[in-house]
Symmetry: C2
Subunit: 235 residues, 2 copies
């Protein structure tokens, strides 16, 4: 009797439009017997909602949750426990596809699964369309060109660090805006960059919204939002 | 008699694996009557080679060429002339799909078409899987996480600028290596970063190659190569 182990696939499902899955991610998703995704208690999974129309009734769904903002010491036992249902499916010989918003290894939590499973199981990562590229396409502006330095800056950084980084880059994407939006807008204004900066919410989703920095209500900035500072290169 | 103009689509075809096209790019490509791509004299187009198996005999192919390393003054008339065949197809009511390696607006030349056509024709950009994400998936390492600053650095920058940028970032992708490889390797060594850095050629293509920085022959570094400096975050 053979004991065939299951395979683990981390697939990028892209920024929101279900048509922005890759052909490979779509094929793996359609053939998977088990589909896993992050889902906090009482919060629907965005990654699952992106691929909802592709799921079938005979697929087993496995939600799991990695609580955020813990120190590594606290997080480890919780994360080890969160992945037990996935481990059981793999051990039973089921292939498991893990849905990842955007790209799995770009600011994604798939790495916690990857580091725990890659030694024991065949593990493969399928890259996805990432949000800076999706935002640029939706707005219709080039991000970066030729010898540009392009930086991705989490809005959680201090105003001083953000300002230094923005001065040192030719183009930038500022992510994780939410409650940090006002600080970021002030930094852009103080550097004289706010007319070049572009704000977008929920790029490629049905609720996509592109408005000027001045119009943004700072207390209503969602997680899926971004400020793009496109290249200075004149075309 | 109606005079319906054609529509222009810039589609990202991803890093090399034909299965890394998005469903949307695939659909638009299959339905396009005209397919355009950059192709220098006597050089086959990489973007075309990625989608070769999807093309059909009844599609009209339009190669065009934007010579590089010109100053903007010299480039403008050449670029204006290069796009004439595409303009003729659009004016005749044919939809034109332009193939773009990786993502169209991330270090891509599609912007030269975009700025020339977006005012006159329905123009849409379909984002694609970009090379930093493809390289990270192929190597099996996370790029960036949480509050990381991630920078994309062209190897054409001076050693001093590269060193400053690498010190100021948590994670980085160094692109356009080619004849600049030795300089970049020296910078990484001098900063004590070479053991963390990872080198990869032709990610997701059949000829993909992952070797250590020390093994790289500096005079044989192809255009499709990258050094990734992954996150310092311990998992």
């Amino acid at each position: 009797m053979t004991n065939t182990k299951g395979r683990l696939y981390g697939i990028g499902v892209g920024p929101g439009d279900p048509e922005l899955l890759t052909l490979k991610a779509f094929r793996l998703l359609k053939s998977a017997s088990v589909v896993a995704y992050q889902s906090a208690d009482n919060h629907p999974s965005v990654a699952r909602s992106i691929v909802a129309s592709y799921l079938t009734d005979d697929q087993i769904e496995v939600p799991f949750h990695f609580p955020r903002a813990l120190d590594p010491h606290e997080a480890k036992p919780l994360y080890d426990r969160a992945i037990v249902p996935i481990a059981e499916h793999l051990a039973a010989g089921h292939d498991v596809v893990v849905l990842c918003e955007g790209d799995p290894l770009f600011y994604g939590s798939f790495m916690y699964l990857f580091t725990r499973f890659a030694d024991q199981y065949h593990t493969e990562v399928v890259p996805g369309v990432s949000s800076p590229m999706a935002c640029a396409s939706a707005i219709g502006i080039p991000i970066s060109y030729r010898n540009d330095i392009f930086s991705v800056l989490p809005a959680t950084l201090s105003a001083d660090v953000l300002a230094t980084q923005l001065v040192n880059a030719d183009a930038a994407a500022i992510i994780k805006l939410r409650r940090h939006f006002s600080k970021v807008r002030e930094v852009l204004r103080s550097l004289g960059l706010s007319s070049r900066a572009r704000y977008i919410e929920r790029a490629t989703m049905a609720e996509q919204r592109i408005i000027s920095l001045d119009e943004v209500e700072a207390d209503r900035v969602p997680y899926f939002s971004m400020i793009l500072l496109p290249t200075k290169v004149q075309l």
